[in-house]
């Protein structure tokens, strides 16, 4: 039914994807996301550490970006005109590493070392150890300011590369995001796209019970951004938003997601923020992700 995933690894570029018929593109994204989810479950099961809920909620966003949108070259990870991708919710490194492996930036075997002693694959990403990582994130509220700096750099260089920052929703309680949002709106940085993984859960409880974010789109609009809401598991809808030509304002895509998406016993449960699956649960999860 789905093409074998090995067909994708490192060999499919966003330009290939853009030329696919929509149906084929949909199948490709679905197969890639499935492979990423399997990889995430295996990595975290083996490491007995990680943030599985957020990894699974952000998977479809990363799939769409890494395989359909971002201008990146795994053979030249530092090429100056690459698009910049920053995972501000750095705790979801398993999802990022899986995407980087499938995209050919790191060997797939390396995923087996996730969070092991002396592995390049720390619990939070390190650009000095992992090609394809743009910023060492982890403390929340850091990715968007860095992304604003990247977007200003692109402009100052007279370049066309774009900046994509993925943030958690709980993370928006950090004030530094709003400093960055204000600056980006003020400057009309239309080469900047922030994507909110709106899974409505943070470490300890629901966001709206902890420190309310809504009305979230209105907040971004008030800061001078264009804001859109989208199903964060709908690759076609995400693809459409990320590839739409834009002018004048930065874009915030509020991607509505389910934390733990794809594994029934993990979905939308607060305890699975950083709970790790037992070997039996890994097997059950992989059966669901077959």
């Amino acid at each position: 039914m789905h093409p074998p995933i090995t067909r994708h690894a490192g060999f499919v570029s966003p330009s290939d994807v853009s030329s696919m018929p929509a149906e084929q593109r949909g199948d490709f994204f679905a197969a890639t996301a499935l492979e990423m989810r399997r990889s995430i479950v295996e990595m975290i099961g083996r490491a007995k550490a990680g943030h599985i809920g957020g990894d699974l909620s952000v998977t479809d966003i990363l799939t769409t970006l890494f395989f359909g949108v971002l201008n990146l070259d795994a053979s030249a990870p530092q090429k100056p005109d690459r698009d910049r991708f920053i995972l501000s919710k750095g705790h979801c490194s398993a999802a990022l590493y899986s995407a980087l492996a499938l995209r050919g930036f790191i060997p797939r075997e390396l995923l087996g070392t996730f969070m092991q002693s002396l592995s390049a694959l720390n619990g939070h990403p390190n650009r000095r150890k992992v090609p394809g990582v743009e910023a060492n994130t982890g403390p929340l509220g850091h990715g968007l300011p860095i992304g604003v700096g990247c977007a200003i750099a692109s402009r100052l260089s007279g370049a066309n590369w774009r900046v994509f920052v993925v943030l958690g929703d709980g993370e928006l309680q950090e004030g530094s995001n709003w400093e960055a949002a204000m600056a980006a709106g003020h400057r009309g940085l239309d080469n900047l796209i922030a994507i909110i993984d709106r899974n409505r859960l943070q470490q300890g409880a629901r966001t709206e019970e902890t420190n309310r974010l809504e009305p979230l789109a209105d907040k971004w609009r008030a800061f001078g951004w264009e804001a859109v809401e989208v199903d964060g598991h709908d690759h076609a809808a995400l693809y459409d938003i990320f590839t739409r030509p834009r002018a004048g304002r930065p874009l915030c895509a509020i991607a509505h997601t389910v934390k733990g998406k794809g594994v029934s016993f993990i979905e939308d449960r607060v305890e699975w923020h950083h709970k790790t699956p037992s070997p039996e649960q890994v097997e059950l999860a992989l059966q669901e992700l077959a």
């Binding site: 000095r128 060492n136 509220g141 604003v148 700096g149 530094s176 204000m182």
Partner: protein
């Protein structure tokens, strides 16, 4: 004992030299940008802004974003000089300095303007006396404290091509010239005065005071070696070890808290390689109201205070 220091020499603050050098560099290196927090005036960036309006990124009063933006600019190939009042740059954005700049290894030059007690009577909220302690604890971050405009020029030129994270402490308190044209080499402590009885290790605005103290000690028959430590991190360990071994003790003088700053850095070396008695002069507690000169005297950061500490070690 805390008599005010007087000097007849002409005095200079380091900000003008900083601003002029930055503009000179920016003319030949288009990667150089300035990033600030509504501090165009207080960081002496007016002329820079006039000549390079696009390359001055003023993010407003938002220090966390300011440092993050600088990291992003470095990611995009630029060499950002972040210019902001040192208390707010180092205090408000400490996690950004650690994570966004140092841990990423981005070549951002963090310029702590008006550090120490430069904002004297504005009070402890505006004093940057903890910066050396905080920043010394951060891996991969070089810390440079020029003592005068000559060193400031050389340090800015060095930082622009260092290719790594740097904190530059740019003094505002007017001091005499204390160094020569070659007076700054990264990582090197300069012996400004030879001496074998006592060593005085000073940094920034305290260096000229250490020299004054050495003059007075010489009159009293005490030969004081004066070291200007313009690179706090990495510290010139050999110069410190030599000073500890070749004298009867070491006095450190800094415009900052005792805990964790220059004195502590020197003590870490002395205790390990060349145990010797030490006296550490610095700021103790939150300062009372007073201008910078008053506060220096209040905390004994002057000729008399240094002389007294040195004489304690001699006996």
């Amino acid at each position: 004992m805390n008599a005010a220091t007087t000097t007849s020499e002409p005095t200079f603050d380091c900000r003008q030299a900083f601003a002029e050098t930055l503009i000179e560099l920016a003319r030949s290196d288009e990667r150089i940008v300035a990033v600030c927090n509504d501090s165009v005036g207080s960081s002496n960036l007016v002329a820079f802004q006039k000549e390079f309006p696009d390359r001055l990124v003023n993010v407003g009063i938002a220090e966390q974003n300011m440092v993050g933006v600088a990291a992003g600019l470095a990611n995009g190939g630029f060499t950002p000089f972040v210019c902001a009042a040192s208390p707010f740059l180092t205090g408000r954005a400490l996690e950004q300095i650690k994570a966004d700049v140092a841990y990423n290894g981005y070549p951002v030059v963090l310029c702590g303007m008006s550090p120490g007690m430069a904002y004297g009577e504005l009070g402890p909220t505006h004093h940057s006396i903890e910066d050396l302690s905080w920043l010394r604890a951060i891996a991969d971050l070089a810390i440079v404290v020029p003592a005068d405009p000559v060193q400031t020029r050389a340090a800015v030129r060095w930082a622009a091509q260092a290719g790594k994270p740097v904190f530059l402490r740019i003094g505002r308190f007017k001091t005499p010239m204390v160094t020569k044209e070659d007076g700054f080499v990264f990582g090197r402590a300069d012996e400004l005065r030879p001496g074998g009885d006592i060593a005085i290790v000073a940094t920034g605005a305290m260096v000229s005071r250490a020299l004054e103290a050495a003059d007075e000690l010489a009159q009293r028959g005490v030969a004081a070696r004066v070291l200007n430590v313009s690179t706090i991190k990495p510290l010139d360990e050999k110069a410190i070890i030599d000073a500890a071994r070749e004298t009867r003790g070491v006095v450190t003088v800094e415009e900052g808290v005792i805990e964790g700053g220059l004195g502590a850095a020197v003590a870490e070396i002395v205790v390990r390689y060349a145990p010797a008695p030490m006296r550490m002069l610095g700021v103790r507690g939150f300062a009372p109201t007073g201008d910078t000169a008053f506060l220096f005297d209040y905390f004994g950061l002057n000729r008399a205070g240094i002389v007294a500490a040195a004489l304690e070690l001699r006996t």
